[in-house]
């Protein structure tokens, strides 16, 4: 999980995790318990798989529409945000984190992660 240290050094980053596209392996760093990190990994993998299914459906409807393959997703709550790019998730404190900076950093840093294993 090469980008974890870089992400954790950014303001407002609470935890960073990585999950396998297949199977239940995960790793994490930051302020989460092992059990909560496992649960976060499962939820993030499920949503990522759903987003990829949706991208494939979009591609079937209109090839080259620009959605497929999806790069990630963000859930923005009142105090916390979950950012996911490829198979890496990041939990943010909204009062301190810049979502634009985090998404753009992850987008660039994880640009070479292929979705082949999905």
């Amino acid at each position: 999980m090469g980008i974890a240290s870089d992400l954790l050094a950014k303001p407002g980053v609470i935890a960073v995790g990585e999950y396998a596209y297949r199977g239940d392996r995960f790793s994490y760093r930051g302020a989460l318990t092992e059990e909560y990190a496992r649960m976060a990994s499962i939820m993030c993998r499920a949503t990522t798989m759903g987003a990829n299914m949706e991208g494939a459906m979009f591609e079937a409807l209109r090839s080259g529409s620009g959605l497929h393959p999806p790069r990630g997703w963000v859930v923005h709550g009142p105090a916390h945000t979950v950012c996911v790019i490829a198979n890496t998730f990041c939990l943010l404190d909204n009062t301190r984190a810049s979502i634009n900076d985090i998404v753009k950093f992850m987008y660039k840093a994880l640009a070479n992660v292929t979705p082949d294993m999905i």
Partner: protein
Amino acid sequence: MTKLDELMKLPGAMAAFEFRGSGELLEQRIAYPDRIDESILDLLAHMCAANMSIATMQARGWEKVTTMTGFYPVQEFTLIGFDWSVVVSGLHREQYKQAGKFSLPPFMGVVMANEKADYEAAFAILEQQEPVP
């Protein structure tokens, strides 16, 4: 100026739209019809409705299980595609719920080119409070 028109002024805005909680497209603005048309937006609106529901369920469950708060209600769901992103919100529906209204306004969303996308600016427009009639 309507909120849809305001969303279309965001950097890289390609489309803005309103949709029901069940996914039906209600109204839209489209900047590049050769890339995103009504048919694409209709499917996108259904996807976004589903994703908002799943994210809301996960946020609710996460808060109950972990006792960590600040995830619910989901304010926006963003899907980052290969070339563009879509940001959707139903936050203003919360105002109506709190006012005891049973008829809720539609969800709103914006499609932005990834290279210019300003997610926080999109959130700010989508989170603007409006008076409940």
